[in-house]
């Protein structure tokens, strides 16, 4: 079937509107969730129909031509976002059943996912920015969704202030590029950017790194992240860490790649900030007492791995580009699966014992065996233990580092060191949850977990193992993205 590249995005926009109206007129929470799930499934089918890419749609807004393009990268990001979205919506049918205003909640989730897909599909910097905002604005509201408590509202204020400032910086960078080239089309922009003033190109690259870096949470710009992930509903934490940070990294990559011919070296900056993010994220996670906050800091570290891989790819493009891009894309996919799963487990535990304090979780894994064992899989995968998926993507990033040689090998060894450090907090957490001798009072009285919560967690465990022992399954959608990126950044 021949469908337009804009179809998945339009489906989700229409879905958001209809879900909101459905939630207003038919206030039965379970059906609102399932209704919005329908649109995500349609979007997934459309995305798989577009595989492996090709096709471009031009539309005009007040006389300005803009493009949406279905390429390997777009399909990859779309499948990751929609796939995680489907699992989280199934989870939320039970997890969010007591909250009021679920029509709004699901509509905002659909908009956020539409924005993330749009970042992949954007064929010019204008669409890239617009979809970045479409993704960002619902996420502010979703963090503050439980507005009767003080933590979510405060975290959302902090997140909004930092994130909107970042978006404006990125827009400043984009307008500098446009000012000097008069062109925003990603396919031809590199040629027009080649004779840009080098000083202005450096300014634009700096603004773009700082701007999109807020969403990716590279380290000096990460302050909002632990608060937001801890205070948001667990499904939203999973979506934020799985989709928005990955999509932010891809937005940054797309905008920076076109500045390569100007003689700037954004890759070096990304490698340095990636390494700083890994260390700060992992060391801060070591001292956390709260499971969701610990996972949030570990997200910073994992995005550090991705940013470092992107930096390696951009800096040593012809020799190391392939494996570094493959590592970055595969790690975005794996991070969505394993960190999303870990957040869903944390949410399930939070729901059954009423707190996310690690000390109160002693022995919960023996009460809720499924959640405990699933958390073990996710924690080990996040630490990069061999047969699981986290290992494979870290291996690709390391291969990229070795290909690059010189400083690439230094960066790679720091990544391995950081994986070892991260075991230092995953293993104690695992020990507390699964192997603790005494069982805490709250865990003793833990409520059983609903089947709606178990199903997505089990699916994610299966994916974690499958992507680890049979990575070709994941590479099927990763490889077209790598091919596109090599052509996009390398052919310039």
């Amino acid at each position: 079937m021949n469908i337009s590249p804009a179809a998945p995005i339009i489906t989700l926009f229409v879905g958001a509107l209809l879900t909101y109206l459905f939630g207003r007129t038919y206030p039965k929470p379970k059906f609102t969730g399932l209704f919005s799930l329908l649109f995500l499934v349609i979007a997934l089918v459309e995305l798989l129909n577009l595989y492996p890419g090709g096709g471009r749609v031009t539309y005009s807004l007040w006389g300005a031509q803009t493009f949406l393009e279905a390429n390997g990268l777009a399909i990859f990001l779309g499948v990751v976002a929609v796939g995680l979205g489907i699992l989280v919506l199934i989870y939320d049918v039970s997890h969010m059943k007591d909250s009021p205003g679920l029509g709004r909640y699901y509509a905002l989730i659909l908009l956020m996912i539409a924005g993330a897909i749009g970042i992949g599909f954007a064929g010019d910097l204008f669409n890239l920015f617009v979809f970045f905002e479409v993704m960002a604005i619902p996420s502010y509201a979703l963090v503050a969704f439980r507005k009767e408590k003080w933590e979510p509202v405060e975290a959302a204020v902090k997140y909004t202030i930092m994130s909107i400032s970042g978006s404006l910086l990125a827009l400043g960078g984009i307008s500098i590029i446009f000012m000097y080239t008069g062109n925003l089309d990603l396919n031809t922009l590199a040629q027009s950017a080649a004779n840009m003033d080098p000083g202005m190109a450096i300014a634009a690259a700096g603004l773009i790194i700082a701007g999109f870096g807020v969403k990716v949470a590279i380290v000096p710009l990460h302050m909002w992240l632990p608060d937001a992930y801890q205070a948001a509903p667990s499904g939203i934490s999973a979506l934020l860490s799985g989709i928005t940070s990955g999509a932010g990294a891809i937005a940054m990559l797309k905008a920076l790649a076109i500045l390569l011919p100007t003689g700037t070296h954004p890759g070096v900056v990304l490698i340095i900030f990636g390494i700083i993010s890994m260390f700060v994220g992992n060391f801060m996670a070591l001292v956390q007492k709260d499971l969701k906050r610990m996972l949030a800091y570990s997200s910073i570290a994992h995005m550090g791995y991705v940013v470092m891989a992107i930096g390696l790819a951009l800096n040593y493009l012809p020799i190391a580009g392939e494996y570094a891009f493959r590592g970055a894309s595969f790690h975005i996919l794996n991070h969505a699966v394993m960190k999303g799963g870990a957040f869903l487990c944390a949410g399930a535990i939070l729901q059954s014992i009423g707190t996310s304090d690690l000390h109160e979780m002693r022995g919960i894994g023996r009460k809720n065996v499924l959640v405990g064992v699933a958390f073990a899989f996710f924690a080990l995968a996040l630490a990069g233990v061999p047969p699981l998926n986290g290992f494979i993507s870290k291996f690709f990033i390391c291969k990229g580092g070795v290909d690059a040689g010189g400083w690439g090998i230094v960066a790679m060894s720091l990544l391995i060191l950081n994986s070892a450090i991260s075991l230092g907090y995953y293993l104690p957490a695992l020990n507390t949850i699964l192997f603790s001798r005494d069982i805490s009072e709250r865990a003793e009285k833990a409520r059983p977990v609903s089947a709606w919560i178990c199903v997505p967690i089990v699916v994610m465990v299966i994916l974690t193992v499958l992507l680890g022992v049979y990575p070709e399954f994941g590479l099927k959608i990763v490889n077209p993205a790598v091919q596109y990126l090599m052509g996009f950044a390398g052919g310039l």
């Binding site: 807004l61 204020v157 902090k158 404006l168 400043g172 307008s175």
Partner: protein, 99 residues
């Protein structure tokens, strides 16, 4: 044309000053609004300098303003919720927002 760009930069820096240095949440929101408007203004001026009417620059400028308005209304709502909770807009008295 250059002085106009400098004015936009000054407006943007004023906004950043508001966000970074002010303690009152409403003043921070005003600072963000100044940043949004300065970027939108820059885009509109760039469009004017390029001699286009209703082109890409102006579209981006318009969309920036719309996005800015959405964020602004959201922030004002959250600020009102915080005021109901604490009876103040002073962020140094609101626990989590320190640092």
């Amino acid at each position: 044309m250059m002085p106009v760009y400098v004015l936009c930069a000054i407006l943007f820096l004023t906004g950043i000053y508001g966000v970074v240095a002010k303690k009152n949440l409403i003043k921070i929101i005003i600072g963000i609004f100044l940043m949004v408007q300065s970027v939108a203004l820059l885009l509109l001026i760039l469009g004017y300098a390029a001699g286009e009417v209703g082109g890409l620059f102006q579209t981006i400028g318009l969309i920036t303003m719309i996005g800015g308005l959405a964020v602004m209304s959201l922030m004002i709502v959250t600020a009102v919720r915080l005021h109901e909770k604490y009876g103040t807009f002073d962020i140094s008295e609101i626990r989590r927002l320190k640092g």
